[in-house]
């Protein structure tokens, strides 16, 4: 699954933020979009996600393995989103946050079958176990540490089985030791699952080795 952006231009109030940007992100690869504040990094992510609204104007094409996504609404794009804040739903337990994302039908390939709640819970627990969070399912987000919440947030995004993932400065609110840990966990997981990823950051240390880099200028 390769994510491709072609001739993307974004303007706001007559000012061009991004001018005819083209890039392709292969499965498991990372495209790092860098630049100072206000150059349009987050606007680019919003355009890819399908959430860019007025006063921004955009043109260009977005395809995923040749499938045209440009005019699809956000919920049909199957592109996951992670922000600076974990945005776990605070009134839901960790389990419920994960089940909210997990599709009702589970199974391999193109023939998933309806899954029972027990099966879906088992899938959520397996995901938690893979992230070192076994036994945390019944906890509320407020009872988790920052690093634990970030991991649950990533798991939630992945359980929705996205075909690509967008990361908007996802490590910027973590302290130094957690940042390194989360970077490693996030990019190894994404590489393993072969999810093409666009990362927006102003910190070069966030960019994994081997990532493509695009630098936006003011």
């Amino acid at each position: 699954m390769s994510l491709e952006l072609a001739d993307v231009t974004i303007r706001v109030h007559g000012r061009t933020l991004i001018d005819r940007l083209s890039a392709a992100v292969a499965p498991g690869d990372v495209l790092a979009v860098m630049g100072a504040s206000g150059v349009g990094k987050s606007s680019l992510l919003a355009w890819v996600a399908g959430t860019l609204e007025a006063p921004f104007e955009a043109s260009g094409r977005l395809t995923l393995d040749g499938r045209e996504l440009t005019s699809l609404p956000i919920q049909q794009r199957r592109i996951g989103l992670l922000f600076q804040d974990d945005l776990l739903f605070p009134h839901m337990s960790v389990h419920d946050n994960l089940l909210f994302a997990l599709p009702a039908r589970l199974g391999p390939g193109s023939s998933p079958t309806p899954a029972s709640r027990a099966a879906r819970l088992a899938a959520a627990d397996a995901a938690l176990g893979s992230a070192g969070l076994a036994g945390f399912g019944s906890r509320l987000p407020a009872s988790l540490s920052g690093g634990q919440r970030s991991r649950v947030s990533l798991l939630r995004a992945l359980l929705a089985q996205p075909l690509a993932l967008l990361l908007d400065e996802p490590f910027s609110k973590l302290d130094a030791s957690l940042r390194a840990q989360m970077r490693s966990f996030t990019f190894s997981t994404l590489h393993e699952r072969r999810v093409p990823t666009i990362l927006v950051t102003h910190d070069p240390a966030d960019v994994p080795a081997g990532a493509q880099r695009v630098s936006l200028d003011a």
């Binding site: 956000i74 919920q75 989103l81 739903f89 009134h91 599709p103 939630r156």
Partner: protein, 543 residues
Amino acid sequence: MRAGALAAPALLFALPLAAALPVALWLGLDFAAWRGLLDDPQLARALTLSVLVAVVSSSVATTLALWLVTHLHGTDSWQRLVRALGPMLALPHAAFAIGLALLVMPAGVIARLLAAPLGWTSPPDWPTVNDPDGLGLALVLVAKELPFVLWNLVALLARPELAQQLRGWLASGRTLGYRDSAIWWRVLWPLLLPRLAWPMLAVLAYSLTVVDLALIVGPASPPTLAVLAWQGLQDGDPLRNAEGAAAAVLLAVVLAALVALGGLLGTAGAQAWRRLSTSGTRGRALRDGPSAAIAWWLVLALYSTVATLIALSSFAGVWTFPAIAPQSWSAGAWTQVRDSAGTVALSAGVGTFATVAALALVLMWFEATPPDWDRRVMPLVLAPLVIPPLLMLTGLYALALPLRLDGTLAGLAWAHMLAALPYVFVALAPAWRTFDVRYEHTALALGRSRVAFWWHVKRPLLAAPICAALAVGFAVSVAQYLPTQFIGAGRHATITTEAVTLASGGQRHTAAAFAVLQALLPAIGFGLAAWVGHRRRQALHVA
């Protein structure tokens, strides 16, 4: 989708309000009616009384509120003040007026307490209730509008961006050698007061046009202009009816003139204030004393006493002057209330329906429009608060007639919904409009529908402000007098119409029982809202 969601608020709220005003003005432009009104010997006195009561009470309430905030903001008393505002606002105006009358009337508790030391055997000749100069009415308005102005100030000062700036401005002023109170009066209030234009206008409009309070504690002969208009509008004689409509138009004209005059005085005052503020003097080097805290305790004591007196009086049997406590107790008033169970049920039913409908319309608006559209529609949303209700209701009644809504329960609920909606809107907007849109983007990116996001995420997270807005709307509906009488065409009695009728007829014990109920219904609503809010907070903050 967006247009569909906006159709209901437009048809049920915006269009009727927009149409009611020109219709009312048209009905009020009757030459014979104006001649009759201007020939009425009561008019000059009624007009003067109304203007004086409105200007004095709204000025005093606003000044008192500013003074309290100046001296209490940032002190230990501030949070106590903020917490007390909810219950004070929940006490309906009519119930408060009935209770205050029991306190200050010639045969009231204060006179009874003074009777023994002063040797009185009969009530003194105090001009405190139904007095010809409207002092009692002004007192009730000051006491009841004070928490409303404070509530608006608290909401303004609690805005995160302003709270931070405020700390900076106070710190800057202190380093320049000014006391906090001097900084408030010279810098902060001139800066903040323009943002309070709507609430201050609402207070002035209410004070000028109120009918139910004026019927309970206001002057009787002549009454205020609003009561004069109301009497005309209720009359079976078409000419008197038209005179009432003309008086309602006159009230609107007077309000507009007062607003224009206030604007001119405000501009002139601002220049004088600027000279004073930049004179370089630092004011007296006195510490800000505890007088504001004491004044606030007195206000709280007044509310507590009024609430206690209503309850006490509803069980009073024989209570001759100058006895401090009733000589006998009776459940007679409550027996009458029990016999009027239908009235209670109607109040609760109409209040619930009107509030839920108002909430539905407000949510449709919020979900279909971006936040900056709120500013554009605010004049229309707040119209029921600032346009004299008599004028608005004259127009709405004329619109209800061809639709055969007059005298029907549907019409009554619709009229209450129109009154409740602005409060629901204002109560809910801050929480709804600042809800982090990234939650929605996250949920949609997870492949879930907007409906699933709304039901599973947004609704539960905003349950507390939704319940608070419902409680506010319900309290507003329960307290409605004019819409019930007007659109209900006098066919439906609610707790409030009963309380006002009984109180203005001198049946104080039964009126007190209805006043207790009038206060109790909204209190239950606010209690439920507080309970939901508490549970949600508990659910979100795990130790």
